[in-house]
């Protein structure tokens, strides 16, 4: 609702953003699709030829693909489980009347701002190192043999590192949702004779469901593309034990220079991410109407 003049102005002001994003989406996507049907190795320029679904067949039948897919799902699932449950617990804890709540809150959210390469290296060296790491010192202090975390439990270790970074995100969002809960609702429930556990189960949790869904979906989007943490810790190994989908594609692309297969892998990754994205976009779209 406005005058024609403002509507025209509006269109002009919107177009740079729209056109740029359109180019950003269509051009690389089109190229990825195109490359994915070519036999195309960067070390052999000029030898490109059409191979149909050859790259897809090669990528999808590679035993490393299934392992990477499994690792991706395990990593996403593990981090989600840890952050959603841990985040709910932490949010409720911080929401209690405590001394120094502001400071505790700052301490808890700090890991989110640590860049992935820093957090991965700090964990890898100073905490998880089998000889000089702090964990090793603690295990020895308890009289046990130190664990070589990244060699023996690579995927688990990476899950821990990533979860540490994302726990603040979940906590912060759940806390925000928690604080928007109308206290009259809780009081009404108390008047109706509900105990603390019933209140949590029947009032708090349903109220949080939306925030929990949002946390799950957004984290999933980001977690599907975890890269730096693997890059600086295990390099995907030992073998392919901690290789996820993005890392596998990275290996195809920039270590083996196989642009065709990497692009086919890219298309697979896009399809996978889109399955999640559809749900997320629907959720947010619904919210837009209110």
């Amino acid at each position: 609702m406005a005058t024609k003049q403002t509507q025209v102005t509006a269109k002009i002001m919107m177009s740079p953003a729209v056109l740029m994003l359109l180019a950003w989406m269509i051009v690389p996507l089109g190229m990825t699709l195109y490359f994915s049907f070519l036999r195309y190795n960067l070390l052999m320029p000029g030898m490109e030829e059409f191979t149909g679904f050859g790259n897809y067949e090669f990528f999808l039948t590679d035993p490393a693909f299934l392992e990477a897919l499994g690792n991706t799902l395990l990593l996403v699932g593990g981090v989600l489980l840890a952050t959603v449950i841990g985040g709910t617990f932490l949010a409720i804890l911080i929401d209690q009347p405590i001394w120094g709540r502001g400071i505790v809150r700052l301490l808890v959210i700090a890991p989110f701002f640590v860049m992935p390469t820093v957090s991965a290296l700090v964990w890898k060296n100073m905490l998880m190192h089998p000889v000089n790491g702090l964990f090793a010192w603690i295990t020895r202090g308890l009289g046990a043999e130190p664990v070589d975390w990244l060699a023996d439990l690579p995927l688990f270790s990476i899950t821990v590192i990533v979860a540490w970074g994302w726990l603040p995100f979940a906590t912060l969002i759940i806390l925000t949702a928690l604080q928007s809960l109308d206290s009259e609702q809780k009081e009404a429930a108390e008047m109706d004779g509900a105990g603390p556990i019933s209140i949590f189960w029947f009032i708090t949790l349903p109220h949080l469901s939306r925030a929990l869904t949002v946390v799950t979906l957004i984290e999933t989007i980001f977690l599907l593309s975890v890269f730096a943490e693997i890059y600086v810790t295990t390099g995907g190994g030992p073998g392919t034990a901690s290789t996820n989908l993005p890392f596998l594609i990275y290996i195809q692309a920039l270590l083996q220079y196989d642009a065709g297969t990497a692009s086919a892998g890219g298309v697979v990754a896009i399809i996978l991410a889109n399955i999640v994205a559809i749900f997320l976009i629907r959720m947010i779209g619904k919210n837009l109407e209110t």
Binding site: M1, A2, T3, K4, Q5
Partner: protein, 332 residues
């Protein structure tokens, strides 16, 4: 200054026609109220005059000059919004001074004008405050102050009182009327409340589905409603509108009887009925009588009239103040 003419003005949003076509003359210095139920197009009409929306077709003239394509800033009109639309980051002083600043008036004149407006509106002690620190009534006054200082050709009010509580609303009603008396500037006032329309207007424009149903002074509309819609909309409590046999007797499709004109008796009369809810206002009582074979009829009686729920009463329509309407809804 301040005569506004609308000629064949129409407005559609996409395929939806909100104002199918309006012709209206507003004389200089008049207090005109656009009244109608929500969605009747009254606010849209005001925004068309303000220039905040483009007309789809037709002409708007201000003081005889075609202003149809003129931007809102250049029409020389001032508007008071329903939400007051005060600038939250500016003090009261700066809010009131804003239009002057935009017009490039010098600081000394601004100061003098703002202070005199503040004095008129009892805002002198609040000039340094932010809108967030004011009560609803005070915010309303700031919005009016911001309109006054421009010395506009006409004031436009978009439901300015709907966010105030009942007592304050009565006060502000008086203040706005008082302002009109002293400034003698054209005012166009939009409301859905027929009481505001009746009490403030020189001229009421009743709108319904984008059409003007009737234009006239408050008493003209009260006495001679042009159709069933106006009859039902103007007057409180609402006019009783009866159809069927009761109306046929008077040779009409619908008959209308104002609650205050009904003769009520406990002994006898034309129609007999049972008292349902009785609303006691003190001076008056509104009785909702369930008349046999006709239905619910509201009557306004003296506050001392002693009947109770379930009592049988007799209702007599006044022969001289009975409104008759045809099947097309128009007055006969």
């Amino acid at each position: 200054m301040g005569a506004i003419t609308l000629e064949k003005v129409t407005k559609s949003f996409g395929d939806v026609s909100v104002i199918p076509g309006v012709d209206l003359e507003i004389a200089e210095g008049e207090f005109v109220v656009f009244v109608g139920p929500s969605g009747c197009g009254k606010s849209t009409l005001l925004r068309l005059i303000a220039g905040l929306e483009d007309v789809t077709s037709g002409t708007i003239k201000i003081d005889g000059v075609d202003a149809t394509g003129t931007s809102p800033a250049k029409r020389g009109l001032a508007m008071v919004f329903q939400s007051y639309a005060l600038y939250p980051h500016m003090s009261v002083y700066k809010n009131i001074a804003f239009p002057l600043k935009m017009a490039g008036v010098d600081e000394a004149t601004i100061k003098q004008k703002v202070e005199s407006a503040a004095a008129t509106l009892n805002l002198t002690n609040y000039l340094d405050r932010r809108p967030g620190q004011l009560s609803g009534g005070q915010r309303q006054r700031v919005a009016i102050g911001r309109a006054i200082v421009r010395e506009p050709a006409a004031f436009l009010f978009d439901e300015p009182l709907s966010n105030l509580d009942a007592a304050l609303r009565v006060n502000m009603r008086l203040e706005i009327s008082e302002l009109h008396n002293s400034l003698a500037t054209t005012m166009i006032y939009v409301t859905h409340d027929q009481v505001e329309a009746m009490t403030m207007a020189d001229k009421i424009v009743v709108l319904h589905d984008g059409y003007i149903e009737q234009v006239g002074s408050p008493l003209e509309l009260y006495r001679n409603p042009a159709n069933v819609f106006v009859a039902g909309f103007i007057g409180s409590p609402k006019m009783n509108l009866l159809e069927g046999a009761a109306a046929a007797k008077y040779d009409a499709h619908t008959i209308g009887i104002r609650p205050e004109h009904i003769e009520l008796s406990t002994e006898g009369g034309e129609w007999s009925g049972v008292v349902g809810v009785a609303e006691h206002l003190g001076s008056d009582t509104f009785l909702h009588v369930n008349v046999d074979n006709i239905g619910l009829v509201t009557a306004r009686v003296n506050g001392e009239f002693g009947v109770r729920h379930g009592d049988r009463v007799w209702v007599t329509p006044p022969a001289d103040r009975l409104y008759r309407f045809g099947a097309d809804g128009l007055a006969l």
